[in-house]
Amino acid sequence: MASAATYTPIATQTLASNASSVSFTSIPQTYTDLVLVANVLGYYSVATYIGVGIQVGNGAIDTGTNYSSTMLSGDGSSAASSRATNAVSAGFWATALAADNGTRNTVVTHFLNYSNTTTYKTWLTRFNAQQTTNSTNIVGTTVNLWRNTAAINQISFGDFNGTNFYSGSTFTLYGIASA
């Protein structure tokens, strides 16, 4: 029986200044799965969470309408489900505030079999958008589809409300290799 230690950090980015997106490029093709762990806070003057979108590509980020998602979420009083089709990114929610009070919340995305060239790519995201100055919180999960059989070697994590992630937000990409 083969066994090998894995779950290897590939790259980490910490925002030194506010930015609207973070990208990972030249992702090695030597793993089975990727895991992206983001600890973020976005800026939004009128709401407490923002739309975040993941885009991927091979050689270049695919900005076409080739993404879709199914979401399950809860806001503390009810559960809901929603869907996006033919979207320009794979979307979910992240915490946002009009001023940075130090809050950061975590988003974890699992890209399954990202380097195969036979299947469309599916990934799972868990997110929680909650903060300390407002009672509006949300927690949820999504399954996403990229309608492309290409191996993923680029990932972009972007603020799709047209604003920025605050500095200090962190993004770490891990690789998991199966036996």
Partner: protein
């Protein structure tokens, strides 16, 4: 804070590479398969995790997970909450349904599943399993958070996941978490 051994599908924490070990992988070939089996599972880890790309014959079907060759449905309970894209619902069955909501075609709706099998070597308590999984097909699909209870205190040494037919390219990878 660094938490060695925290489950990889959790939403926070970090893993040490040496604490997360690939054990076995099953990739379904061109003939398909009716089951995926992990046997002789080492008893030297705290938790197990299965990471799967799921391709069944019909999108949305559920598999059945069995431990130590116990195929008696009444020995298992399954609870899950799920989203259909339009509403959220929950259900329970006296069955070992897992993975839930598997995908289907390789270029239409491949599914994903991450299954955590907690404290699998402990012989003093029944076993609890949890899953995040689902599929999306650009206009249809499901996402779920699921659990299975196995009413047995035995250490888990064998895992079998059954479905009428897993399609080619389905892949199940088993990992040990210290």
């Amino acid at each position: 804070m660094i938490l060695p051994g925290i489950l990889a599908s959790g939403i926070s924490g970090h893993l040490f590479s040496s604490n997360y070990v690939s054990l076995q992988t099953v990739t379904v070939g061109s003939g398909g398969a009716s089951s995926v089996i992990f046997s002789s599972i080492p008893q030297t880890y705290t938790h197990l995790q299965i990471r799967a790309l799921t391709l069944g014959t019909v999108a949305g079907n559920a598999g059945k997970i069995h431990f130590n060759s116990d195929t008696t449905d009444s020995h298992y309970w399954n609870h899950y909450v799920y989203g259909s894209g339009s509403s959220a619902s929950s259900a329970a069955y006296n069955q070992p349904y897992l993975p839930e909501f598997m995908g289907s075609g390789a270029t239409t709706s491949p599914g994903a599943s991450i299954i955590d099998i907690l404290d699998y070597t402990n012989t003093n308590k029944n076993k609890t399993i949890r899953e995040i999984g689902g599929y999306d097909a650009n206009g249809s699909g499901y996402i779920t958070l699921s659990s299975v209870l196995w009413l047995n205190t035995s250490a888990i040494t064998t895992i079998e996941i059954d479905l009428s037919s897993f399609q080619q390219y389905s892949q199940f990878a088993l990992y040990g978490v210290k």
